[in-house]
Amino acid sequence: MDIASFSLMRNELILVGIVLILLIAEIFTKKENKHKIITLGTVLFGVATLINFLPLAEGMLFGGSFQTTRMTMFMKSVLNLGVFIVFLQSVTWLKREENNEKISEFFILIISTLIGMNFMISSGDFLMMYIGIELATIPMAALAAFEKYSEKSAEAGIKLILTSALSSGILLYGLSFIYGTTGSIYFADCVVNINNNPLQTFGFVFFVAGMAFKISLVPFHLWTADVYEGAPINVTSYLSVVSKGAAAFTFMIILYRVFGSITKVWEPLLYTLAVATMTIGNLFALRQNNLKRFMAFSSIAQAGFILLGIMQGGELGMTTVVYFMLIYVFTNLAAFGVISAISEFSGKEEITDYNSLYKTNPKLSLILLLALFSLAGIPPVAGFFSKFFLFAAAGAKGYYILILIAVLNATVSLYYYLRVVKAMLIDHSDTPIATFKTPWPMRISLLICVAGIFVIGFASAIYEYISSISFGIN
């Protein structure tokens, strides 16, 4: 093991480096200069994001505990990009007086959770996976409670930490049985002993439940809405996009790599979860008035769609899932960006507050409209492609009824997305949110998102690239 091989951990190491730099910066920055840390953190992270796009060899470290493939590299880049956009969108919020003290903490916490996700993605054994998950979760609770003078935020924090602790308990209990029946915590060694005896399946189901918690699948989703609503909006967008994406991806590759031989167990399992998730998520989303909560249920429903791709179990499945996530990053962050900008300006987060928004803020409305259409899967924006391909993945397995349920759910989801559209474009308000100028970092972030929403769907090269680096159950 030489130093050069550490380059496989390039992204993680750079992120750790940024955390250290920020720690030092925090110590040596005067109080009145704290806001400069925002620039520092964002720029550093931007550079890291760019660096991570450079190609890198595949390989593994630490006896297989840390594995990196082009797929994981790509996924990490996607996550980095998402986080970068979140940082851009957080600038105004961080500049608030009450957050002045906590700027570097914000960056450190987010980046450390990101490090956790990176390890989770690259993990080669259950221990690393578990540590990654915890690293990605525990600081998240602190982030959710970041606005500590807000009761909602505090509530979000406690709900997140307690339920996630329970879920890691469940997950671990499952893992203990998997360890007990396979004799190893290393993915590569486990595989040979995977069969579906009841105890192992017991463990497997508990493991799935634990992961499902992170991806917020029904019935393990209950924390999601409350936490999303209570957490500061930028944390919410981070949670809904990056955290969920990483968990889903990890879940998928572990299913493929470790449990590939018992597809006949997890396909019906995921089938059930997918149906429940989409349906319940949509039914709840129908009635929401708070946009953050609304987006929470929307993202639950979206998670149900992801399962359709995961179930496929082949390269097609992985490609579609990753493709979906990539698009989802842009789409959801565009939506959250707008919500965040408006919330930052006016403090309003209810759907009815958006009445007549188009008249006062046409551009923001249009961006939100595009994002919502993309979430609903309406052409020509990217969401259409990603959703269609997910359905195709399920179709490849012959799950046509599931597709039907999914598409009907997508139709229901259209209903509530259109509710927001209706508020902005159709409904009249006497006191619409006033016209305002969005700060430039937000604009850049929205620009990136919109570009993504438009381009990724049509640019088949991206899909082809993902396809070329995907793998399935072998």
Partner: protein, 498 residues
């Protein structure tokens, strides 16, 4: 470059042009210019297409071109037209063109209005030129969604409700479609790599069990847009709330997507199941035909009347398709074109009348013929076309359908045909009722006397629709025979199994 691409490029460029206009005047001029070009392109296409045919170029589709899009999924952007598609494109161009002029006076968010309208048109054009089911579906959905905004923002009455209902029902339809399309896609693996290509799929004979499963998805999926009973209820509400141009486009063109899809995708690709299950849908469509007509009798709102009438007429399209012989299917295509033109004409007129009277309730109108003779005469022409007067397009289409359907050897089908023919009387009843209440009799309100007759832009819109109605009515054989040629492969596939 392939001329067909222009059908997508021109609208997109028009949209971009509209974005840069300053006010509603600029927007509508830009839209009008763009759509005039579009109409011109369509006309050129018609001429060059038939010139090529005359020159002896064979092949089911002309102007084929194919670009690989998603390579691993084998999704292509494939375009090509046969004569049905050519006529449909022309129809769509005419209706869109007329629609722009019919909405000349839109001022509220005019740019957005025209952009949405043209986006809708893009979807329609794209749908007709596509030979790849994926892009076809993409354009299909693209055509459906702007409807929501168009109805919701610029509509009238319970517009939010109607818009939502329409959108959700149509999206429900496309939910079924997705299942069907994916079924076709994956089962195509029996004959090589999976594909969405219509040309490839049409060479495969799918196992019957698979056909039985997927045919209803595809047929109902497209059928919803074609107002298949009992899934037509989006249509009355949707139409009545929609602004003029949208009703025109929707009833005139968008509903044709349904019929066209049933023909081109559901029946063409899954012929055995089509043969086997036709009777179920035949019952439904027969009900549609009569039911829609009876439904129209009772209505008071002009748009509702026309919406129900559309249910009846579009029911006839599906009805004729299900008869599955060349003549009836030819009639179905003629009916699509004819209904497209005349219902667009109807909605244009209703919009113009509404713009003057501010009511659509026929009980509150009367004697308008004396006040606005141009509109009145146009309305009568539309009405006569609708009730199937010889010399106008409706007659040709209906007769072709009836005579085609009646050629069916089964008594069941012929009895259904006879039931369907009865719609011509019921149609006459409601059309005359409307004409009587709306146009004839004494002028009902004093203020009606002040109404100006049709403005120049209104006249353009109307004339552009009336002329083809009359042309088809007078000289149908070219249209009819060219459509027949295009139907050959479909009918062959449908009857090969018998």
């Amino acid at each position: 470059m392939n001329i067909l691409n222009l059908f997508v490029i021109i609208p997109v460029l028009t949209v971009i042009a509209i974005v840069f206009t300053k006010d509603f005047k600029g927007a509508r001029v830009a839209a009008a210019v763009g759509m005039s070009l579009q109409l011109l392109t369509a006309i050129i296409l018609v001429f060059s297409y038939f010139a090529q045919r005359k020159a002896g170029i064979t092949g089911d589709f002309l102007y084929l071109s194919d670009y690989t899009w998603f390579k691993t999924l084998n999704i292509h952007y494939t375009v090509g037209v046969d004569s049905i598609a050519v006529w449909m494109l022309l129809l769509a161009s005419i209706v869109v063109f007329a629609g722009i002029f019919a909405s000349w006076q839109v001022e509220y968010l005019a740019r957005e209005f025209f952009i949405s309208l043209i986006l809708l048109a893009t979807g329609v054009f794209g749908f007709f030129i596509s030979l790849d089911l994926f892009t076809m579906f993409l354009f299909y959905e693209l055509a459906v969604i702007p409807m929501y905004l168009l109805i919701g923002i610029w509509g009238s009455g319970p517009k939010e409700y109607s818009a939502m209902k329409l959108t959700l029902m149509l999206m429900g339809g496309s939910a079924l479609l997705i299942v069907g399309l994916l079924g076709l896609y994956f089962y195509s693996s029996a004959a090589g790599p999976v594909t969405f290509s219509l040309l490839e799929l049409s060479k495969i004979s799918f196992p019957i069990a698979m056909q039985r499963f997927f045919f209803p998805f595809l047929f109902v999926g497209f059928g919803i847009l074609g107002a298949l009973f009992p899934l037509h209820t989006w249509s009355p509400d949707g139409h009545s709330s929609a602004p003029t141009a949208v009703s025109m486009l929707h009833a005139g063109v968008l509903m044709k997507l349904g019929g066209y899809g049933c023909l081109r995708v559901a029946m063409f690709l899954l012929p055995d199941a089509a043969q086997e299950m036709a009777w179920i849908f035949l019952i439904l469509t027969t009900i549609s035909v009569v039911y829609g007509a009876f439904g129209a009798i009772w209505q008071k709102d002009l748009k509702y009347i026309n919406a129900y009438s559309s249910v009846s007429h579009c029911g006839l399209v599906l009805f004729a398709l299900l008869m599955m012989n060349k003549t009836s299917m030819d009639g179905a295509v003629l009916q699509m074109i004819s209904h497209g033109l005349m219902t667009a004409l109807f909605f244009a007129l209703i919009g113009m009348i509404y713009g003057r009277t501010h009511t659509r309730n026929i009980d509150q109108m009367g004697g308008l013929m004396a006040v606005v003779p141009f509109l009145g005469v146009a309305y009568v022409i539309a009405g006569l076309a609708s009730l199937g007067l010889p010399g106008l397009s409706g007659f040709v289409a209906e007769m072709t359908i009836f005579f085609g359907s009646f050629q069916h050897p089964d008594t069941f089908h012929r009895v259904a045909t006879i039931i369907a023919t009865s719609s011509i009387v019921i149609t006459a009843v409601y059309i005359l009722r409307v004409v009587g209440k709306l146009l004839l009799g004494q002028v009902r309100e004093k203020e009606y006397l002040e109404f100006p007759d049709a403005k120049w832009y209104e006249r353009i819109s109307l004339v552009v629709l009336i002329v083809p109605i009359a042309m088809i009515g007078f000289y149908p054989s070219f249209l009819s025979s060219t459509v027949m040629v295009a139907l050959n492969p479909i009918v062959e596939r449908l009857t090969a199994m018998l």
